[in-house]
Symmetry: C2
Subunit: 176 residues, 2 copies
């Protein structure tokens, strides 16, 4: 599948994998640290670590004369951090009825950050109203057909969500 999300999930689609990356971002490196943190069965942890090594998110580093290895995030692995931060923000919003147990804070001031995705150049929030997924230059014929269907759907959804009154395209909410 050419979809970059699908491709990402091929690498990290497993629950455990994402938690291992989270822990690695926290600074955990050793098998027993991950195991203790995640309370995961050793054979499962071995499997997930191997998958992350194969996918290129982790690399091994020897830390003892005996062949003992620790697991370090590669650049690709570290760059997964925004996905973790976005999940963190969503989780805090919906699944922390007792208040936040974990916050993302400014190292210096300890002030809590409120993560939002914006366009790097313009600084504009990447919300659904203004930004849509669309075909890129390398899109296959199949992807182009797929997005042609998606565009139709989105157009139809826009039309049907409009409270049509006197005119066909009338709108209740104008640029709210």
């Amino acid at each position: 599948m050419p979809c970059p999300i699908a491709r990402s999930l091929e690498r990290v689609g497993a629950w455990w994998s994402i938690l291992i990356i989270r822990d690695a971002l926290h600074g955990f490196t050793r098998f027993d640290e991950f195991q203790k943190s995640l309370n995961i069965a050793p054979n499962m942890l071995t499997r997930r670590l191997s998958a992350l090594l194969d996918a290129g998110l982790l690399q091994r580093r020897r830390y003892s004369k005996r062949p003992r290895y620790e697991y370090i995030l590669t650049e690709m692995g570290r760059d997964f951090r925004p996905v973790i931060v976005a999940m963190f923000a969503w989780g805090n919003r919906y699944f922390a009825p007792e208040g936040a147990s974990v916050l993302l804070v400014d190292k210096k001031t300890q002030a809590a950050a409120d993560p939002v995705l914006v366009d790097r150049r313009s600084g504009r929030p990447l919300n659904e109203r203004d930004f849509v997924f669309s075909v890129g230059p390398a899109a296959s014929e199949r992807t182009r057909r797929r997005y042609a269907v998606i565009k139709e759907k989105q157009f139809a959804a826009q039309q049907s969500s409009r409270p049509v009154r006197s005119s066909l395209q009338g709108r209740k909410r104008r640029a709210s």
Copy 2:
């Protein structure tokens, strides 16, 4: 687990679930649309849709006199979009050697966006150098202990990555 990421993953930890949310954000609503898009076994799709309904990311809406339902994202489901966008950006960066098949574009200008996570108030990028995860007000004793360990680790990692020369903490690789 009080970790909001873990809590998020309890809801969407399955590969298929995230792709279903992606498709729902694209405007797909019906069983056969998801099935065709994902090329997923019907019993698996039924299971994943049920899980997303139970988790509160989707709701059902009757669209025919016969009891036929379509699946609509709830507010919680729509708010998962930044996670999808972050995955998309990461996927495009690392797993699209042939160039981007899919882009996130400005609806009006069709210009491609470059997603980056910033703090909503200050606009500062939420990178590792400046922002860390830390305990929030609702943190349990266990979470506090966990983050105390994490802080030590991060401090140690910072120390060891400093190019100390003449001391015991010297390292071969200097801030490369």
